[in-house]
């Protein structure tokens, strides 16, 4: 009886996982073909080719978009890690008046739906003079979610560790950078993956900020391309696959730290 239950559960989660990954398999399969109908798919390997991808590479500006996306995403992640880890540390471990209140105040900002801020932000950016620049895409990347994640992680570090660091003569910042931060490596990796994917895939804001081909990020460029061509679904899917690859690769590289970091931090004295 237990075995049957076990097997059924296994099947359930396997099916669930398959359903979740199915759209990506579809994307991959279609990207190798030239097809004007999303359903008329060929499973004949002879029809498969990399033509759609070559078409994309030849599109002027394509590599520029890719470069921009990398620039924005990587800078965005680094900025986020810097800002959120320090803020998370302060909220978790440093006592200062209004710690809780300020935390709550910033936390409440997460309730604000992004499309509500887009128009005023665009106006403000214009006035400040940084609209349509890389900065306008990179600076908004850090959100309070990162602070919440870091704070959660720092809270579970025992106070004694910090005490002993202080006794050894570390300043606050040294305690933070050299002692505490390495302990939350899994959180650092999680935040990196989440924010890299978010900033890479964001469409609305870069679309509004983009001043022209030279400033576009990859998703925006691909979206702009959609309108110009008769819909070759293979081409659209090839674009989607390319757009999917960087966050996916970052994920594959970093995901082993998710679990590993947790386990090892549990074993530390």
């Amino acid at each position: 009886m237990k075995k049957v239950c076990g097997v059924m559960l296994d099947l359930f989660f396997l099916t669930l996982a398959f359903i979740m990954v199915f759209p990506f398999l579809y994307m991959l399969v279609v990207s190798f073909q030239e097809t004007y109908s999303p359903y008329l798919l060929s499973f004949d390997p002879a029809d498969y080719s990399l033509d759609n991808y070559f078409l994309l590479f030849q599109r002027s500006g394509f590599f520029l978009w890719v470069r921009n996306s990398f620039l924005v995403s990587i800078s965005g992640v680094l900025l986020t890690l810097a800002i959120c880890s320090t803020a998370g540390y302060a909220f978790a471990k440093l006592r200062f008046p209004g710690n809780d209140r300020i935390f709550f105040f910033l936390f409440a900002a997460m309730a604000i739906p992004f499309p509500a801020t887009v128009v005023p932000l665009w106006i403000i950016m214009g006035k400040v003079g940084i609209a349509s620049t890389m900065a306008s895409l990179i600076l908004p990347v850090p959100t309070f979610l990162g602070v919440i994640l870091f704070r959660q992680a720092f809270l579970s570090i025992p106070g004694d560790m910090i005490e002993s660091a202080k006794i050894d003569g570390c300043t606050d910042f040294q305690t933070f950078a050299a002692v505490v931060l390495p302990l939350v490596r899994s959180t650092v990796m999680s935040v990196a993956i989440i924010y890299f994917a978010r900033s890479w895939n964001s469409l609305l804001w870069p679309m509004i900020m983009a001043g022209g081909d030279y400033n576009r990020t990859l998703p925006v460029g691909l979206a702009a391309m959609q309108d110009l061509y008769v819909v070759n679904y293979g081409l659209s899917m090839a674009g989607a696959v390319i757009n999917f690859l960087p966050p996916f690769i970052v994920y594959l590289l970093l995901q082993k730290y998710f679990i590993q970091g947790v386990v090892s931090s549990g074993l530390k004295a």
Binding site: L9, F13, L16, A17, I19, M20, V21, P23, Y26, M27, P38, Y39, C84, T86, A87, Y89, L94, R95, F96, N99, I102, F103, L106, F107, A108, A109, A111, I112, P113, F114, P115, A116, T117, V119, P120, I123, I124, F144, V147, I148, Q152, L155, S156, D172, S190, I193, A197, N201, L203, S236, A240, N243, F244, P247, F248, V250, Y251, Q255, F258, I259
Partner: protein, 294 residues
């Protein structure tokens, strides 16, 4: 020792960049939008102050009421579903330890979170909305159909909610998983020696220990739920009719399609107030300071 009163003033320095960022990118625009919402502002006419006109108009706007109730339905459906599914997935994976199957499922479940929701939306729209789609054929074996899931008034919203749950589950599962893996093996051994079965272990050990994580995930889920935009916009655009219109999609349309910027800003502000109220309520209800979110 006078430790208790020794404050760390450099804390302010640590939080300063984040504070500036939130103020500039979130509260600043909200204030500006509050100002705009008190009047009518569109691409065609300059700003005209009309007081609470937008807000009173909203309360009698049946499209807005529909969008808002859809949003509540969305949140009430999606949040429990994804939380429960994420939790059980994490339990199952943690239970299997280092099996290849579990590791594969774990990696795969997170993939939708790493992808662009826009693309998922497009693919889903192709897959779930035509008699020719292979998904239709597949479901046909079980007696279901996918020929018009996104185009029918009754099934559009539930289908979207299901897609959202499937996309988000992997993301929240990771949170549960990392906390689950911290539970020492000795707890399980002790429980088994006392004769506890899998169900008892789950309810008496795992759920209580993971309470802070549950709270955090329900919270993040609520906030995300009220802000939901990308998926709905790229698959149905709120249609058919108003069947799947959610509050933020309505806001977007008012803002960019109809150019009723003041009106859209009013919608935004109402949403902010609703979510802020919920946040406040939840904080009141759960005055658990120790290991909790706040």
């Amino acid at each position: 020792m006078n430790r208790k009163h020794k404050y760390k003033w450099n804390g302010y320095l640590y939080i300063l960049p984040m504070c500036l960022s939130v103020l500039f990118f979130w509260y600043g625009p909200v204030l500006l939008s509050a100002v705009f919402s008190l009047g009518s502002y569109s691409a065609l006419k300059p700003f005209q102050f009309t007081g609470m006109g937008n807000y009173t108009a909203l309360f009698s706007d049946k499209y807005f009421i529909r969008a808002l109730s859809n949003t509540f339905i969305w949140v009430l459906g999606v949040v429990p579903a994804q939380t429960v599914l994420a939790f059980f997935s994490a339990c199952w994976i943690a239970g299997k330890k280092s099996s290849f199957l579990a590791s594969l499922v774990r990696k795969v479940m997170f993939i939708p979170s790493v992808a662009s929701v826009t693309v998922i939306g497009i693919v889903c729209r192709l897959m779930l909305n035509s008699p020719q789609s292979p998904v239709n054929a597949l479901l046909g074996i079980f007696g279901g159909s996918a020929s018009n899931l996104l185009g029918s008034e009754t099934t559009a919203l539930p289908t979207l909610m299901l897609i959202e749950v499937l996309v988000n589950t992997g993301y929240y599962m990771i949170f549960f998983l990392t906390s689950l893996m911290e539970i020492p093996e000795s707890y399980y051994e002790a429980a088994r020696m006392d004769g506890a079965g899998a169900f008892r272990i789950c309810t008496q050990i795992q759920i209580p220990l993971l309470k802070p994580v549950f709270i955090m995930i329900i919270f993040l889920g609520l906030i995300q739920g009220f802000r939901t935009f990308d998926l709905v916009y790229t698959t149905t655009g709120g249609g058919p009719g108003q069947a799947s219109m959610t509050a933020v999609v309505y806001l977007y349309m008012q803002n960019f399609k109809f150019s009723q910027i003041g009106y859209a800003m009013a919608i935004g502000n109402i949403l902010v107030v609703i979510v802020a109220l919920l946040t406040f309520l939840q904080r009141r209800l759960l005055k658990n300071k120790e290991n909790s979110l706040y």
